[in-house]
Amino acid sequence: MTDYRMDIERGLKQSLVNNARLQKIVRRIDFDRHNKLATRLPVKKIHLVAAAIIIVGFIPFGISFNPPVTNTLSRSISETITPTEVLPLVFSIDVNGNYTGFSNLPKNYTVEEAKKDGYIVEQDSVVIANNEVWASFVETAAQGNNTAVRMVSFLTEDNSSPFFRDLFFSDGYYSLFDSSSDKQDMQRYSHLVTLEGQFGNPLKNTQIVVLTDDNALSFNVVLKTLITSNMDYKQSVSPYRLVWFNESEK
């Protein structure tokens, strides 16, 4: 019987990709756009100053959240809400236009803590707790009122911390921030669109929720952008931001 360890050592040394494939990937990059960026970026410390934009949304159902330190110019609508019922999720943007709401995220955060805090909790891309908070968010935003919701996503196969997503509806626009993203710049969208259809399993309905400025965006168009590698097609579709991809039994 052959020793499996030798097969691992020899077999896994094999590369599965060839140079032609790598070159094709490099050619897909729009270098014209990136060459416009400074090659050497100046190193400077970014100080949060009092002019930061602070807008406050809220999460219903008594969600506990410790807001980051604000300043004298900040304004808060939480004053009108009983603190024991609702604590604010602060929509804080620094002078560089970046969201600062993830600066004090809890460490070693667990699923149970997230459930208790009232956040929408996802485990391996399936919502497992506080789904009703989402309906409330959608309804409040549809009425034109500022609101916010925090979604916490855990991955079973990964022991590292969960990632957080904060979705705001503020002054008529939606903005989504993701703690796992390298960029926290604010992108505003006019519409929160829920698209429904069938994809894959015929026994299940698929629901895709996106932020977009194009409320005519269709289920099939969004699906195609998710599964295609054709960059020309992706770029031809109105910009959108994926919020949810859900499946449910028919």
């Binding site: 691992i8 077999g11 990709v17 270098f31 090659t39 993701d178 894959g200 399993n201």
Partner: protein, 186 residues
């Protein structure tokens, strides 16, 4: 990778970022590290075309982050960390593709697994085929240890878990590999 000269890699990146056009920088990195980054991305997502997308994103991130590399870790560890983050961050997309293929559904009414599809598209030897059947947390450490020749400490640094966890995962990865292996041999 064990015993790699960190200083020379730092100088190499510094040299690259000093006024060279972006496409030349990425061309250098693709030639030197492209294979490793693609294989790592593939070992996480299990689909070649998604590994392509991830590598493209990684190259763009490298352009944006060149100045943040300070030689604290080896350059390869730094690049693999970016690749890992990109692969996991895009999981909402690749999970969709991992689970379904709209074209295959309409053509065949079947649900090919990520591994089955990968095997169809990429020529893999027996070891890779077995590894791609393991849960991602096991195959990831096995690929980093064997294919990328990383130490357990470097893997722990890349994945962001304690070294003891890596040791444990490697043990179970080998165990699971051997079960699949001997099942196939016999």
């Amino acid at each position: 990778m064990r015993g790699v000269n960190v200083i020379s890699e730092f100088d190499y990146l510094k040299h690259l970022s000093d006024g060279h056009p972006k496409n030349e920088i990425i061309q250098h990195i693709a030639e030197k590290y492209g294979n490793d980054l693609w294989n790592y991305a593939f070992s996480i997502v299990g689909k070649p075309e998604i590994a392509d997308d991830i590598l493209q994103d990684v190259f763009i991130k490298i352009l944006e982050k060149l100045q943040t590399f300070r030689g604290g870790s080896s350059m390869k560890t730094w690049l693999l960390s970016i690749t890992r983050n990109t692969a996991y961050n895009s999981r909402s997309k690749w999970l969709i593709r991992k689970t379904f293929s709209i074209d295959k559904w309409s053509d065949q009414h079947s649900y090919p697994s990520a591994e089955t599809e990968a095997i169809e598209q990429i020529e893999m030897n027996n070891a890779w085929k077995i590894v791609m059947k393991l849960p991602v947390k096991y195959r990831e450490v096995l690929v980093l240890f064997v294919h990328h020749d990383m130490s357990q400490k470097e893997i722990a640094q890349t994945i962001g878990v304690p070294e003891g966890t890596i040791k444990s995962r490697l043990h179970y990865a080998r165990l699971k590999f051997s079960k699949h292996y001997y099942r196939g041999v016999e």
